[in-house]
Amino acid sequence: MARVVEPRVAPGVEEREHEELISGSEAIAVACKLADVDVITAYPIRPYDTVMQYVAKLVANGQLDCEYIVAESEHSQFEIVKHASAAGARVFCGSSGVGWMYAFEALTVTPALRIPMVAMVGNRALDDPGAFGVEHNDALAVRDLGWMLVWVDTAQEALDTALIAYRVAEDRRVFLPCAIACDGAFLTHSQAIVKVPPQAWVDRFLPPYDRGDLLLHPDNPITVAPQVNEDWLMELRKQNDEAMKRARTVIAEAYRDFEAIFGRAYGNPFFEEYQTADADVVLVGMGTLSMPVKVAIRRLRQEGHRVGLVRLRWFRPFPTEELQATLGRFRAVGVIDRDYAFGSPYTSGVVANEVRAALYDAPQRPPVVGFICGLGGREVTVPDVYRMVALLEQAAAGTRVAPTHWIGIRE
């Protein structure tokens, strides 16, 4: 493990968290410092670049002792940390939009090698046209490949989730990479007050990374990733499948311990429920769109509409049973996708289709309405949410509503 140059806890100093005004990206950089990351690779792309800048500053200031490698491309960026992780280093990496896509080959091999890499995806629309704004299709591209995927909506949650991600990914029962998806601009480039925990709390929460018998080291001579044929691959895929299943338990354990040590409770680790207790209809979405949705919900409730929000955090592993139990309580479910899935069932977004699939076997199966909204970084507005809820209430009343609606589009 790398060593932080300063003493972690000065003798006699009380273990207390302190507040900093930092962006979501910077919060993740702070988490890297707290997690005492050994190897970080960088290649600039907006909005991910704010992380590498902040980490570079931490290294330059002597606050973090790690290998900071500027790669010549995103592909190398991810390959370098993959290998470093195989050799026992705790690693961090990240990218955005087309940069993430350029790394795709490296991204696909990482889960197969059971590399517990933690990465940040600063969500950004995929080119063309070049656009900085948030869309979730970049991170969602790896959704079937063995990456754990988690969305956050505040800088505080970004910091906390990065620590939780290391704890989950590096658990021997899991050993899978985890990407933390942060909405470009709204989260990556907005500074907010964040509670930074003391090092001692983190050390108690996050044990050292132990790769065990999979460690690539001269004292443990192994071959990694040989060529195989059809006699082997299904069994290897099954191993990843089981690791992803086990991740659900490990995630729950990690949030439980996080609450015990840090005193901050997230409730259900997989999704946040907002004003759902008596709701007739709910919206489901990921990331910072929770902000305007929550504002709209409060106003709508004053007007007598019983509406709530289910904000998904963990998209992989997908919380199927939990969502079935929760969403089955409502008369209609609206799914807001800040992404698209052209040509998919109902030409919906990715999340809407996943929610529909999850509900198919549910005992209570409310109608699902898909909303494509906020693409390319377009703001999701309170009036947008009003439109969505109006459609949802029609569906709840038994009126037939089209399965997918583009909200906030000029027409």
């Binding site: 990733a225 044929n229 006699d231 069994e235 191993q239 089981e242």
Partner: protein, 417 residues
Amino acid sequence: MATYAVEVVYRGIFQKTLAKNITRGIVLAAVKEGKTGISFGRYGDSPERNGIPAKNFAIVADDAEELEASMAQYEPKAVDITIAVDDTLCKGVESWAWYGLQPINRLTKPGGYVVVTTMLPFEELLTMTHAKADPYHLAVVRGLPSFSGLWVYKDDHTDVRVLGAIARLKPELLSLAAVEAAIREEWGDELKVLSARRAHERVETLLVPPGTGNPETPYEFELPKWWELREGLTIPAIRTADGAAGETLVDPATGTAGGWRPARNPYFKKFTTRTMRPVVDFDTCVKCTLCWLQCPDSCFDVTPDGFYDANLEACCGCGVCEAVCPVANCITMVNEAAFTDNRSQWEMWKADPAAYKAWVQEKIRHRPERSHGFRYRGQYQEQIQAMVAAGVPAGPGHEALTEPVAHDTVEPSAGGN
């Protein structure tokens, strides 16, 4: 309704085109008879690597619907005819497509045929070929191994001669007329038609009774279950039974222990890639270490007395050691068919130096008879006479030689299915 499967076992690169020509020719001939078929290579093979045993298949069925039962498969589960276009393949084959050595006749059905292109007598082929529990036929098409390069093809008619032989052995699969028609269409060469006809006349067969042949039990193992496999696509380094990275050797003459034999994969030995093996004259070795250093497979064991002994379970027969050896005739590559086991040459030399010297002299006498492709200019010309004698027409304006060759030893049985 009848489906026939034929496999062609060949040497990577050297016989890639030859194998394809044979399986294509089978299907084209079948089409001439109103049947249909497919020709394909085993996908997991590595036919672009020197000498690696690889396979091509031809499946012939009465119609497209019947053929479907044999499609979307890597290889048939049993074949009517196995064709080995290099006789050293009779020692068994091990390719990228599987793990462990497999007998050449593994897929051959009871009563089926193993066809070998060779100059060797039946009894020598049977010392190499693994014994089978059911009877089958060994058939021989006389000829030198037909080796080419990746970009060139030595058209010595081995392809059509094998097709002619099949028409004789399995007329219900292909008639000679269909083979001839297919050759005319594919190659437009009457001389090749004549070659096929000659091979049809001359193919020799022997009924091999159950249990006859190489008694060695080929390696078998059970593939692990998903939860038994190590995670992370990791494979631990090969160790000896004691868990060490290697072991010392014992000098049989003096009892001195020393040297080094690295632990090697007991499951994947690779020696069936070999068509030649190094024969080392330890009396002239100067211990320069070059063979040991340059061997791409690290196959040389270091002996307690400082010699380098090619471990013949691990040697692929590439010939690099011969090329780098600075001493004349100290390392000589010799036809693999001249050997029946993988014994340590150093131990043989230690046991009886004089007898070993005589053995070496005998083995290296025929040095040029085998090579990867051609070793020197004019080698093909030297081979022509032998091939003409084996039944290849000598070409326009030349009378083909027609001296008699051995006839069928046993009548083909009615076996097969």
